[in-house]
């Protein structure tokens, strides 16, 4: 699809980020010092790389400590402070130092430096091709069996410990048993899973962090004296590669155009708007942002909600009620289920992403009507997610829309993960498939992920949005989104879209709103007039680079893992890559081994109840902030740990790690079905 912002030819010798010498006016006051720090850092990196022939991708011995003992947050550029960070973890400097041509404006540890134009890809479903059905590979039987046995042992041991514990150490169980006439808040039975299974690997969850959740993240080290019952921070911190945060486009940044805009709004607006949208909490910023979002997703209008979870839980009840039916994918997010329960409508679920099961269900429910009475349903709302956060699978939208025509249901697409992350211009799953977004009744999404902000939105027809504005739960009761968050949303969105210069005033003075192309740049009049983005964000080049870097990283990792022999789920284009572990014991082993590497890698492991019992997994969330070297690093780590943990159970052609790393570009562009 030709795009108005894609045609800006970026010559390969050019840095992706505009040379700073061209844009001194748009920088903060400290620009000069900032720049000198940048060049110092680069010089330092070059010197280092000359001195040590070892590139950081070759992993130093495991014994090397990588903890960060001192941390100064005031330094503009962390690379500029070699005393603060030695490069033991290989995260501070890019392995290949930048040439004097390339000047990067981002902090490498927040948003990696990658100037190689080859490491780019476009997230787009090849037009005309059928949507591939990803067969989810089953592991060999011995893995399944050992998984079941593991759970059995865990459960038996747990019950044994409970049995003896209650008799020998009753004081430890008082809060789980009725006492003093109160029923326990959480009975020993209800909490069994948490206490006896999850507690064992609690060190892998809820790690306290500090700093920017960008390309790297700094975690507090924790220790325990009582088998995870209490985890204490030791005061030491470890920096590691972050492939866990939902930072798809790398907008989690403390520096740069977006952060500057947010700082500006804090000084202009403060941090709060003190009320609900319908009760005096509406700011001009809300209106501006809603118009921009509608333009971004290609709908008539949109509504913002201050919390992503609450977007679903407060809007679904405004759409359907008693006598209506909701058809929901079995793996839909908890917030959707919450909203569905609040709405009072009936619910039916279909097998995840199975269009056959979906159509059968549609035929059944429409022909049968409401249970018992057999009256026809008032309306049927189908809720699917664009990209499933635990599976990495993408909804088969073309087929859903085909069925929509035939069965006349309303379609609600939750793009919490796909907005910004999918499609050539980041407009989500509709653009990915080349579908007109207006053929979908309601588009919902969140700002937490690709935009580095918080909250969510719904977008649709003007009438429908007004209906939700007045009758949704958020309008009268929930606090409105605060100005800094709104600004982060607008700034990041505008830099994905690019800003079109003010159109010449037409003679008859008609508004040009209807003529704005989709997916096109944001008209300047849709942004607050004090908005001053740096030129690389304004012309959309950086946004485009981010999208293309993410698309490359996503494909590279998921295909690389497959070539290494791992079982992964979901689509190759998904920035979420779940790697199957199956055995519960491998979860903590994997997570801890990744953490203890010379370059620590922080991962998310998920298991029951978020996934089915047997398919425990580790979930990688890629980001545009990662460089190809980072993905290499992850592949290398997985390769080694995968051998240890016997994870390479996949089928198909295998490549060696070196081959994958060398042929990365080829691998990404390959046609695999």
């Amino acid at each position: 699809m030709p795009s108005p912002i894609a045609i800006n030819p970026v010559s390969p010798s050019h840095s992706i980020f505009k040379k700073m010498s061209k844009s001194p006016t748009n920088l903060p006051a400290s620009a000069a010092s900032y720049l000198s720090a940048v060049s110092q850092a680069d010089a330092h990196a070059r010197a280092r790389s000359l001195a040590t022939t070892v590139t950081p991708t070759t992993t130093p011995p495991l014994s090397m400590s990588s903890s960060v003992t001192v941390f100064s947050d005031d330094n503009v550029l962390r690379e500029g402070e070699p005393k603060m960070f030695d490069n033991d973890d290989g995260l501070s400097y890019p392995p290949i130092p930048p040439t004097s041509e390339q000047v990067f404006t981002t902090v490498h540890s927040e948003f990696g430096h990658c100037a190689n134009e080859e490491y780019r890809f476009t997230s787009q479903h090849p037009p005309g091709k059928p949507v591939p059905h990803h067969k989810e590979l089953d592991p060999p039987y011995y893995i399944l069996l050992s998984t079941y046995i593991s759970y059995m042992i865990l459960i038996c041991l747990g019950h044994l410990r409970d049995f003896f514990g209650k008799r020998l150490k009753p004081s430890a169980y008082t809060h789980l048993l009725p006492h003093n006439g109160y029923a326990p808040l959480n009975s020993d039975f209800d909490s069994f899973y948490t206490r006896r299974l999850k507690l064992r690997i609690d060190d892998c969850f809820s790690t306290p962090v500090t700093g920017v959740p960008g390309r790297t993240i700094i975690c507090y080290d924790r220790e325990t004296q009582d088998y995870n019952a209490n985890l204490h921070t030791t005061g030491r911190r470890t920096r590691g590669l972050n492939i866990s945060s939902y930072n798809y486009l790398g907008f989690a940044q403390a520096r740069g155009g977006c952060a500057d805009a947010v700082a500006e709004v804090i000084s202009r607006y403060g941090v709060s708007c003190c009320g609900a949208r319908l009760e005096g909490g509406s700011l001009d910023l809300h209106q501006t942002a809603e118009r921009l979002i509608a333009q971004f997703v290609g709908q008539e209008d949109s509504i913002i909600s201050s919390m992503g979870f609450a977007t679903n839980s407060t809007i679904i009840p405004a759409l359907v009620g008693k006598g209506c039916l909701i058809i929901s994918d079995e793996f839909n997010h908890a917030s959707i289920r919450f909203g569905v329960r609040l709405s009072g409508a009936s619910v039916r679920t279909f097998k995840h992403n199975s269009m056959k099961s979906f159509e059968n269900l549609l035929r059944e429910v429409i022909s049968q009507g409401q249970p018992k009475t057999h009256r026809p349903w008032k309306k049927i709302l189908v809720i699917v997610e664009g990209l499933y956060s635990m599976e990495g699978s993408i909804v088969d939208l073309p087929k859903v829309l085909e069925l929509k025509k035939k069965y006349k249901f309303f379609l609600f697409v939750d793009e919490a993960h796909s907005i910004g992350a999918m499609g050539a211009h980041g407009r989500g799953v509709a653009e990915y498939y080349g579908i007109d977004p207006r053929s979908i009744d309601i588009l919902m999404g969140t700002f937490t992920k690709s935009f580095g902000a918080a909250g969510g939105y719904v977008a649709g027809k003007k009438n429908l949005m007004d209906h939700i504005r007045v009758r949704g739960h958020s309008g009268p009761y929930a606090e409105a989104m605060s100005p800094p968050v709104l600004t982060q949303v607008m700034a990041s969105m505008a830099s994905i879209m690019g800003v079109a210069p003010e159109p010449p005033k037409s003679a008859n003075g008609t508004s040009s709103n209807t003529l704005i192309p989709y997916p096109g740049p944001a008209p300047a009049h849709m942004l607050p007039n004090w908005f001053d983005l740096p030129p690389s964000l304004k012309d959309g080049t950086e946004g485009l680079i981010r999208l293309r870097r993410l698309a490359f990283n996503a494909r590279y990792l998921s295909r690389g893992l497959k070539k290494l022999g791992f079982i992964t789920y979901g689509s190759d284009d998904s920035p979420i890559v779940p790697l199957m572990l199956f055995n519960p014991g491998k979860m903590c082993a994997f997570s801890r081994m990744m953490k203890q590497r010379a370059t620590p890698i922080f991962t998310v492991v998920v298991a029951y109840p978020a996934t089915p019992l047997v398919t425990s997994r580790v979930r990688f969330c890629l980001s545009a902030a990662h460089t190809k070297d980072d993905v290499d690093l992850i592949l290398k780590a997985c390769d080694e740990i995968g051998d240890w943990l016997d994870l390479k159970q996949g089928v198909g052609e295998r490549w060696s790690l070196q081959e994958i790393m060398d042929r990365a570009v080829e691998l990404v562009h390959m046609d695999i079905d």
């Binding site: 945060s245 908890a334 918080a454 007004d466 800094p484």
Partner: protein
């Protein structure tokens, strides 16, 4: 023929030896033999029982769809026809005239909010009695500076739920400082105030548990109750006698039925969102201890607004906050940031970190906003004058508005939100705040409606009140009706104008605003007679 018989007997023999090889099978065989000998009918019965068990086991799996009692078989063609015939209702209903008028006249603030914001459109600077800026911290320079510092350290978004690298140190700090401020063991942050209580309730109360709730609880609590699926009993609004009766009746009933011990909760609000009245905390604590209930107290409007230093109801009544099992408050109102919290014992908080749906499945609050809240707490802690000025301003408003006899103000005298309702002439609602005093019969605890509910004409009263709001706005004072989702709440709240008083006003401003509102009320409500 013979061959088949041979084969049959051979396989039977095989089966028999195989059966006897199973350890314990001898015992079973002996049992079957002897029971058959004693009572051949019993064997038959047991076989039938076995078949029945197998049948029910198999049936329960396929019950879900397709084979229910009410399922009708259709041919494919019939289904196609039915699909063609079916026409759904439209997804949205067009707004009523009033609704679209309301939406169009919605005041929108241009620029920063605060005590005196500028309105979009007219460009007029107005006095803001609509936004919750009780402590006057909106736009506080110190907070702004701290928030900017946090932004430069953490970026804005947290990019993940608390479980997956979304627990930033500033969240822990805010949790600690809230717990410290209130005097509880711990607290937990949610990223939206509205979502807090509706997530806290179902984290603890499940099907079969008992919840005793006030009849006038806010919408968010109602949603929490709905999700929890617990057994709900209602007591009359803010009526401790009614509460005691309900508790007593539940107690008797469960004794009579020898019901198993379940979790029991009393749910009410500190200052009620619907009318600004205040709960009688000491009595609540007494009753909760007496009947062994846990207390969930929503302090959204009382936290940071009442008590000498703004610690809320517990400070006002001098009750240790640890007596309240789950104390819920908002970070978005008095602290002028975003989010909500639940404070309580560490067991209570820990439980929510795994079971609080809105906590687990939602990204954590942006760091800059958490830092702003932490700063707000320390400012409130250090300057008690904020609270005394606020109370002074509330008194000023009340002293002027209370004397008006065309309205009723159900709000408590210390409440920073003042609800103004139209006083109707009919005798039944002359005492809207007072309990229907006919002591002879109490309301039905299973119904959310009291025995003799107030009668009011929502539409007419809303229209009148909106007229007042518009009139007052024309004179430079921004107020708002308390907006409600009519038809979605469990019981309808009486229409009201809700004033939110701020500490940022001077006494003179308050007097002037109150007088303006008073004049306007007299003018509009007087016209109607």
């Amino acid at each position: 023929m013979n061959a088949t018989l041979d084969y049959l007997s051979y396989s039977l023999e095989n089966l028999e030896t195989g059966f006897y090889k199973i350890p314990g099978s001898q015992v079973l065989a002996r049992y079957v033999k002897s029971s058959h000998q004693n009572d051949p009918g019993r064997t038959l019965l047991e076989v039938i029982l076995l078949i029945f068990v197998i049948r029910t086991l198999l049936q329960s799996r396929t019950r879900a769809d397709g084979s229910g009692k009410h399922f009708i078989q259709f041919s494919e063609r019939e289904i196609d026809e039915l699909v063609d015939e079916w026409t759904p209702e439209p997804l949205e209903q067009p707004l009523t005239e009033r609704e679209s008028l309301d939406l169009a006249s919605l005041p929108i603030i241009a620029g920063p909010t605060g005590p005196k914001p500028k309105l979009l459109g007219s460009g007029k600077t107005v006095m803001n009695l609509a936004s919750f800026n009780f402590t006057g911290l909106a736009g506080n320079e110190h907070i702004k500076q701290k928030a900017t510092e946090a932004l430069r350290k953490y970026g804005l978004g947290s990019c993940g739920p608390a479980g997956f690298y979304g627990t930033i140190d500033v969240h822990t700090e805010l949790e600690k400082s809230i717990a410290d401020f209130l005097g509880t063991e711990d607290s937990i942050l949610y990223s939206q105030a509205f979502a807090t209580v509706s997530s806290v309730i179902p984290a603890f109360a499940k099907r079969g548990d008992i919840i005793v709730a006030d009849r006038n609880i806010n919408f968010s609590i109602q949603k929490g109750l709905q999700i929890s699926r617990s057994t709900i009993r209602w007591f009359d609004h803010n009526d401790m006698k009614s509460l005691e009766e309900v508790l007593e009746s539940i107690h008797k009933e469960s004794r009579k039925r020898r019901a198993p011990l379940t979790r029991r909760f009393i749910i009410t609000e500190g200052i009620f969102e619907r009318d600004g009245s205040m709960a009688d905390l000491p009595k609540l604590i007494e009753l909760k201890h007496k009947y062994k209930y846990r207390l969930i107290l929503d302090e959204t409007f009382s936290f940071g607004t009442v008590g000498r230093t703004g610690r809320g109801l517990t400070e006002l009544y001098n009750v240790p906050a640890s007596e309240v099992d789950m104390l819920i408050g908002s970070v978005a109102t008095s602290l002028c940031a975003a989010g909500g919290f639940c404070a309580g014992s560490s067991v209570v908080v820990k439980h929510q970190r795994i079971n609080g749906t809105a906590f687990v499945f939602s990204a954590s609050t942006p760091a800059a906003l958490s830092v702003a809240a932490t700063e707000a707490i320390s400012i409130i802690r250090d300057s008690p004058s904020i609270l005394s000025t606020l109370q002074e301003n509330v008194r000023t408003f009340r002293s002027i508005l209370d004397r008006l006899d065309c309205i009723t103000i159900p709000s408590h005298h210390a409440s920073p939100i003042i609800h103004i309702q139209v006083r109707t002439a009919s005798a039944s609602s002359l005492l809207p705040t007072a309990v229907p005093s006919s002591a002879s019969k109490s309301s039905n605890p299973t119904s959310v409606l009291p025995r003799n509910p107030q009668v009011f004409d929502i539409d007419a009263e809303e229209r009148l009140l909106q007229e007042v709001v518009d009139d007052v706005l024309a004179q430079g004072i921004l107020t708002t009706r308390a907006k409600r989702l009519r038809g979605h709440e469990m019981s309808e709240a009486r229409p009201s104008i809700r004033l939110a008083i701020s500490t940022a006003f001077t006494k003179k401003e308050c007097e002037k605003a109150a007088t303006t509102i008073k004049t306007s009320l007299v003018k509009v409500l007087g016209k109607r007679r």
